[in-house]
Symmetry: C2
């Protein structure tokens, strides 16, 4: 009896002496799984397997799969650094970069965000902190709304493009050539021009466009400060 109670409350000894399952562990594993294998390979059964548990056991920690997805997105927001300091431009730039990094690390997140509409705790906190940063660094309430919408739209939209266009690594030229070949029957003079003069010229990385656009957007945002 003394021995029996040596273990913490919820320790189980049943099949395998595994660590107690918690909501956080479930969400974390789900994130890891989606990161590693993609969103469509994340099923309750497979997630359970990874945690050494049957699928239905997960429902003790998460009401259903969409709630799990919401929690996963919230986790991503938790990873996103919030802007700090007094320099509005530096702060916003950092936030944009952090946002992009987080959403690239978790490629599934954009897709999930898009379909769900229930922001979680960390998400809300992140928004509040960013709004606070804007207010603090000289934006009126109105301007804050415009600035936030513009900046966020740009970052999210760029990420969306990045996921579609396959020009972000060394294989860009091949892919570009492939697309042209595939539609060889159609007249595509301008696409061909862009491909040959920019993409195939070498050294083109679509990811570099991010900074170009970001600077322009930040200029625009700056103009909103009274």
């Amino acid at each position: 009896m003394a021995e029996r109670n040596r273990m913490p409350n919820r320790a189980r000894r049943s099949p395998a002496d595994r660590a107690p399952l918690t909501r956080e562990a479930v969400v974390e594993a789900a994130v890891a799984m989606a990161d590693a294998e993609g969103l469509d390979r994340l099923s309750m059964r497979r997630l359970g397997e990874r945690l050494g548990v049957e699928a239905m056991s997960l429902y003790h920690h998460v009401p259903n799969k969409t709630a799990l997805l919401d929690a996963m997105v919230d986790q991503v927001f938790a990873e996103m650094a919030v802007p700090q300091g007094d320099d509005w431009r530096a702060g916003l730039r950092e936030r944009a970069v952090a946002q992009r990094a987080a959403l690239r690390r978790h490629g599934w997140a954009l897709a999930v965000m898009e379909s769900r509409a229930t922001p979680g705790y960390e998400t809300i906190r992140h928004h509040d902190a960013t709004l606070g940063f804007l207010r603090r660094t000289g934006f009126t309430v109105r301007a804050t709304g415009h600035a936030y919408a513009l900046l966020d739209a740009y970052v999210m939209g760029f990420l969306l493009q990045e996921q579609q266009l396959p020009f972000d690594d060394a294989s860009a030229p091949d892919v570009a050539a492939g697309i042209l070949d595939q539609h060889a029957a159609v007249e595509l003079p301008h696409l061909a021009e862009f491909m040959s003069e920019v993409v195939l010229a070498g050294g083109y990385d679509f990811a570099d466009e991010f900074d170009v656009g970001l600077d322009l957007v930040l200029d625009a945002v700056g103009g909103l400060r009274t």
Copy 2:
């Protein structure tokens, strides 16, 4: 026999005297279905039902569901007007507005575009035409790339936000209050400020932010012209 051949080639008389099924009809019905009932209610079985046909019959016109989704997206691009005229700013603004209209008409399209990466015929044509417009109205090849990326990122990103934020109709105040209530335990001073001073002040429609940001983006794009 003379009577028999009165009908066009593929007319069937079998169970119901329905019109011949074509790939276009399938895609069109799929788009209509997704528009009306949402992407997740679009299944091959339900689509077949709508067309008076069993699910497997659809596979004679479309190789698989993902190809169908690709075709649906392509259809949306086909609806998107391409920029025309000599005025770069007017042309780009029109295109952005058309793009937004098309993607709002077909709320599922963004989500599908995000997961697929194989552009179709109409999509490629649209890109080519837009690139052509930029080149024609005074953008260098390089500047064209930057301008296109920036503008598209903004429009897509804004749409993504629009789908998340539920502030685009008269219920905005209720929703805003609901979010604050739900997280009442957390300190959210800046969100509360924004809600009370902007959203709850009445007359706030997030959709209006589109034009504000678009003008700023167009200013920025204009700066890219030589």
